[in-house]
């Protein structure tokens, strides 16, 4: 009896058309089961109802460069409110012919932030770069030297003010927050208690109450004759507020440090200060980079609250534009524009935070 030996491989069967490629993908991701199919159809219907009219409103029927009176006869969006008032919304009452100065300051800030994205660039020189950059930005904004005309801080407004409050808020709050976190971990009961009370107190109250405190009560704290301008008072409130949140984040990092690190530092005779500076903080702060970025994001969003104490930030300039009779009633367009600005800022930071998280987590293993 002759054995049957298959000499050629049998012909490969292709998977059915309905389970690979586009059809397969659609089947697996949109129409697996009756419930998902129904869900997909309902969602598609809703999208069909919402997206085309929205698109028509925003792009097809919209006007981009007209006066307010023309806008009222148009069905679509009136983006003219943005194009006409862009400079006021972005820069507030900053002298009109000097707008290039805040613009350059903002571009510098964006450039520095962009350069700092790459962690390979993080070194001493970048730190110096930041310090020089911030000073140059301050000079550009304030003027008064180098032939630049002086601009009072009361004239600052719009986007530069928003960025100023958040960037300085975070840079000043960070060291304070680290100190508070160390204080909370301290073995000295009096210091520990002070820090705990501070952190819990600040985290328990809304930012708006601190802003009220800064704008109404703080002048009462100072001896007679000394006044501090309103932007600085709001800035102090934001710093005090953000520091408490940073302290909690840093505490998480400190608690994640194994005890062995402290013991090793003790065994080579390092003092408390050196232990923290050389051993603990570099590791602990690295762990908490991603949550710190999310604090940066919320600090950036929270600066919008200064509108309540009548500072001319981005939101306030927008509202002021809207109270102009010519542009009254176009809130949607104006707020959407501001929302897009905030979204771009926060979204890029959030994306960066995710990227960092991925990098840091792969490094460990």
């Amino acid at each position: 009896m002759e054995a049957y030996v298959q000499e050629k491989p049998s012909e490969e069967l292709k998977p059915p058309v309905t389970s690979v490629g586009t059809i397969g993908w659609v089947k697996a991701n949109l129409f697996n089961g009756w419930f998902n199919s129904l869900l997909t159809l309902v969602t598609l219907y809703l999208l069909w109802e919402i997206v085309p009219p929205l698109f028509r409103w925003a792009f097809i029927d919209s006007v981009w460069n007209t006066t307010g009176a023309v806008c009222r006869d148009v069905d679509g969006a009136c983006w003219s409110i943005i194009t006409t008032n862009l400079r006021f919304i972005l820069f507030g009452f900053y002298p009109h012919d000097q707008h290039w100065r805040p613009l350059i300051a903002i571009l510098m800030l964006c450039g520095l932030l962009f350069y700092s994205r790459d962690r390979n660039h993080w070194n001493k020189y970048l730190g110096y770069g930041w310090i020089i950059g911030l000073v140059v930005m301050g000079v550009l904004m304030r003027g008064g030297i180098l032939g630049l005309s002086g601009v009072e801080t009361s004239q600052w407004g719009g986007l530069p003010l928003t960025l100023l409050l958040s960037v300085f808020g975070l840079t000043a709050a960070y060291p304070l927050g680290v100190m508070l976190a160390l204080g909370r971990q301290s073995r000295m009961p009096a210091i520990k208690m002070l820090c705990v009370v501070y952190i819990e107190l600040i985290r328990g109250v809304p930012l708006i109450s601190l802003l009220f405190m800064g704008s109404i009560i703080f002048p009462l704290f100072l001896p007679e004759g000394i006044t501090i301008n309103q932007i600085l008072r709001a800035q102090v409130a934001i710093i005090l507020f953000t520091a408490a949140y940073i302290a909690e984040v840093v505490r998480g990092g400190l608690q994640a440090m194994p005890l062995g690190q402290y013991e090793a530092a003790d065994s080579i005779g390092l003092s408390y200060f050196l232990t923290m500076r050389l051993i603990i903080l570099p590791q602990a702060l690295k762990i908490v980079i991603p949550p710190t970025v999310s604090i940066l994001i919320s600090a950036f969003k929270d600066t919008s609250l200064v509108v309540i104490i009548a500072l001319w930030d981005l939101l306030k300039t927008t509202q002021s534009t809207l109270s102009n009779p010519e542009w009254m009633g176009f809130s949607r367009e104006a707020y959407i524009f501001v929302a897009i600005l905030y979204f771009l800022g926060c979204f890029s930071m959030a994306n960066y935070s995710r990227k960092l998280e991925k990098e840091l987590s792969t490094e460990e293993h």
């Binding site: 210091i191 109450s209 001896p223 509108v307 939101l315 809130s331």
Partner: protein
């Protein structure tokens, strides 16, 4: 440096007198005294400045103003209030309004956030992506901006009361708010409420008994169905006993305003909408993380011992997911409550808004801000006390 002192001691074999600035214990005490002194000096300096300033500006101090007549109106109030009432009552009205927004907001946020979180994990690509877009966009826009946006939409898009939209009988939409019909007040309602409370207590006792019974005998009762039946059934029976009153209080347009029904003001709706849509995005992330934290093996193991899908969810997945979800969830709820203070920006009379008016009228800003802080601290401290209790209760008992 702490070890040096001891080292000297050990080497010499006889106790060597350590100078007090090298003794860690004494040094710690000195540091603390120093810090406390500095803190005390700063506080004394600020307080003395404040007292001098207050005296110069002739501002009264103390909480005596709480008993004075407020002479301002508040748009909406849960308790009776008029301009003749005291500041104290005005502040209570504000606090109740804050609680109202917070409570309604939290309930809706939890529902919406859970739906979004589950949608984010859906195997349906379209739904999952849309939920992701929603979460990302809402998280990245300041909540204050959202409040302004909704408020403006309300004011600019909706017609005046005369041309109010009337999508169906008993509901009106206009720029004065949403006016809708409510059941006309009837003595039955009070008893229905009592019946509801009794049903809740009864169900609680029944569930404990059923659990004990199951632990002892292994027999399970249809607990869920019986509980739902009691909670819905008992008030329903009371309602039927009272002759099933169905008369509705329908709003009607008279002149420039509406009569009857209940009105939700545009401020309230804008505040609620902004807070809910914003916080729901964060809640969705919390829910998603919680569900993902339960490993797949848990579900597979539960299914392999033949638990039904509802049992898998109730006995295996949820207890573990909730342990991860609850702590960040409470902090989100607290955030919502704190963010409700932004009501002051759109004119809803919450606690901060009323306190702000009080401060402007009396000039007693220190007391006003102190009251604001105290009220929010009470909210957050009681929440964290609850959290500590809960964390202890659900803590994993490890070997």
């Amino acid at each position: 440096m702490a070890t040096e002192g001891k080292a000297i001691q050990a080497d010499a074999g006889v106790p060597v007198k350590v100078p007090f600035w090298l003794d860690p214990k004494k040094r710690a005490i000195m540091y603390q005294i120093g810090v406390l002194c500095m803190f005390g000096l700063l506080a004394w300096y600020l307080i003395s400045n404040t007292l001098i300033n207050l005296e110069k500006q002739a501002i009264a101090t103390g909480f005596g103003f709480l008993n004075k007549e407020s002479s301002f109106e508040i748009g909406e109030s849960l308790i009776s209030y008029s301009a003749a009432s005291t500041y104290g009552r005005a502040l209570i009205v504000g606090a109740l309004n804050t609680l109202k927004v917070a409570f309604v907001g939290i309930v809706i946020t939890l529902i919406l956030g859970t739906i979004l979180g589950v949608a984010r994990l859906s195997s349906n690509w379209l739904v999952s992506k849309l939920a992701a877009i929603y979460i990302e966009v809402m998280q990245d826009i300041p909540v204050l901006l959202q409040l302004f946006f909704w408020y403006a939409i309300f004011y600019e898009s909706l017609p005046s009361p005369r041309q109010a939209l009337n999508p169906f009988h008993g509901l009106f939409l206009c720029n004065r708010g949403v006016i809708f019909a409510v059941p006309e007040s009837h003595p039955a309602h009070k008893y229905m409420f009592i019946a509801f409370v009794i049903a809740c207590i009864g169900v609680y006792v029944f569930r404990r008994w059923a659990k004990k019974r199951q632990d002892l005998t292994g027999q399970a009762l249809p607990v869920f169905r019986i509980s739902m039946g009691t909670i819905i059934g008992l008030p329903l029976i009371v309602w039927l006993v009272f002759g099933a009153p169905t008369k509705m209080d329908v709003p009607e347009l008279t002149g420039f305003n509406f009569k009857g029904g209940t009105t939700l003001s545009p401020e309230f709706i804008a505040l609620l909408l902004g807070l809910v849509l914003y916080t729901a995005a964060f809640v969705a992330e919390v829910v998603r993380a919680g569900i993902q934290s339960v490993s797949k093996g848990q579900r597979e193991a539960a299914m392999s011992i033949a638990l039904r899908p509802t049992q898998v969810l109730n006995l295996v997945i949820l207890p573990q997911a909730l342990r991860v979800i609850i702590p960040p969830l409470t902090s989100q709820m607290l955030n919502l409550t704190k963010n409700s203070s932004l009501a002051v920006a759109i004119g809803f009379p919450d606690f901060v808004s009323v306190a702000n008016t009080t401060m402007n009228q009396t000039g007693q800003s220190i007391e006003g801000v102190a009251l604001i802080m105290a009220v929010y601290l009470i909210f957050s401290l009681s929440t964290s006390a609850f959290m500590n209790w809960y964390n202890k209760k659900v803590k994993l008992v490890e070997r």
